[in-house]
């Protein structure tokens, strides 16, 4: 719980700093824009070290099996099932739109652009832009909730929960928190699940946009 409160407060502090202009990244030029990317690389390196130096490394690698693929499949199916239910609550978009947005799997840049493009012909420019924005926000939220909620998800629903919640971001942005809270042994699961979810995004989004 302490971890969650700390993460939320740090994120909100960042929001406030950015909104008020106290933390103006423009001062640093391009390096300021890319600071999160550099941090992500640093994180990946550190996560790599913690895995490489793990005394149980052999046991972890030995546990990898084709069964691992079931995790991304259930992740996608679960997301789609509940996104379908959510279309009943959301007034702005129908069943196919909800499914298209849900199958962004946290990959907000790609899914929002795809939906904005693919829906333009069938739904008109304005509605397409709206759906694209909803897709962007939905999938940003998904990533943020996973970053912030990983400790709680892990405690309540087991070590697979943060990986499922992360969707396509399980092997990049969310990987460090997954390894931190679900344990080093979950690294292969997170990478396989993230990569498979990531690859499913363009296919599923285009499929659901065709209705």
């Amino acid at each position: 719980m302490k971890g969650t409160v700390l993460t939320v407060s740090v994120f909100l502090l960042g929001c406030a700093a950015g909104w008020s202009g106290l933390a103006d990244m423009e001062i640093f030029g391009e390096a300021g824009d890319d600071v999160t990317i550099y941090l992500l690389y640093l994180l990946m390196f550190l996560v790599g070290i913690s895995v490489g130096a793990n005394p149980n490394l052999k046991k972890i690698l030995g546990s990898v099996s084709p069964k691992i693929l079931l995790l991304p499949v259930t992740t996608v199916l679960g997301t789609l099932a509940f996104s379908a239910l959510a279309s009943l609550l959301v007034s702005g978009c129908g069943l196919a739109d909800s499914l298209a947005i849900g199958s962004g799997m946290g990959y907000y840049s790609l899914s929002s652009v795809l939906i904005g493009q693919l829906k333009e012909a069938s739904a008109g420019a304005q509605l397409a832009a709206e759906l694209g924005t909803i897709a962007l926000l939905t999938n940003i939220f998904r990533e943020m909730f996973t970053l912030v909620g990983a400790p709680l998800l892990c405690r309540w629903f087991g070590p697979f929960a943060p990986i499922a919640s992360a969707g396509a971001t399980a092997f990049d942005v969310c990987l460090p928190v997954i390894v931190r809270y679900s344990g080093d042994a979950m690294l292969p699961y997170a990478i396989v699940s993230g990569v498979v979810c990531d690859m499913s995004v363009p296919f599923l989004v285009s499929f659901f946009c065709s209705f």
Binding site: I49, L85, C93
Partner: protein
């Protein structure tokens, strides 16, 4: 994406090479601190992006519902899967 995975592998090699060093047992703390730093800067980016803030109120609620549904669905399905996998593994280690 490719370079990220390469960085991860590079880190793993470095960690494996230096697995005897005591310093490396504190890597978990370094990860936590870096996660917090990244969250802060993600917040800065979100807070200073006017387009995101403007659209936030109009479409934010719908996005919130969809995001929570997606998370809930995947988490519930994955939790069930974990129960099944976990039970299997226990049985295997017992035999």
């Amino acid at each position: 994406m490719f370079y990220l995975i390469m960085t991860l592998i590079l880190g793993a090699c470095a960690g494996f090479a230096g697995r005897k060093l005591k310093v490396l047992s504190h890597t978990g703390k370094a990860v936590s601190v870096t996660v917090l730093a990244m969250l802060f800067f993600l917040g800065v980016e979100t807070g200073s992006d006017e387009q995101v803030l403007e659209n936030f109120s109009a479409l934010g609620l719908q996005a919130l519902i969809l995001a929570l549904s997606g998370i809930a669905g995947s988490v519930v399905f994955a939790a069930v899967l974990y129960r099944i996998l976990f039970r299997n593994r226990k049985e295997r280690s017992r035999s």
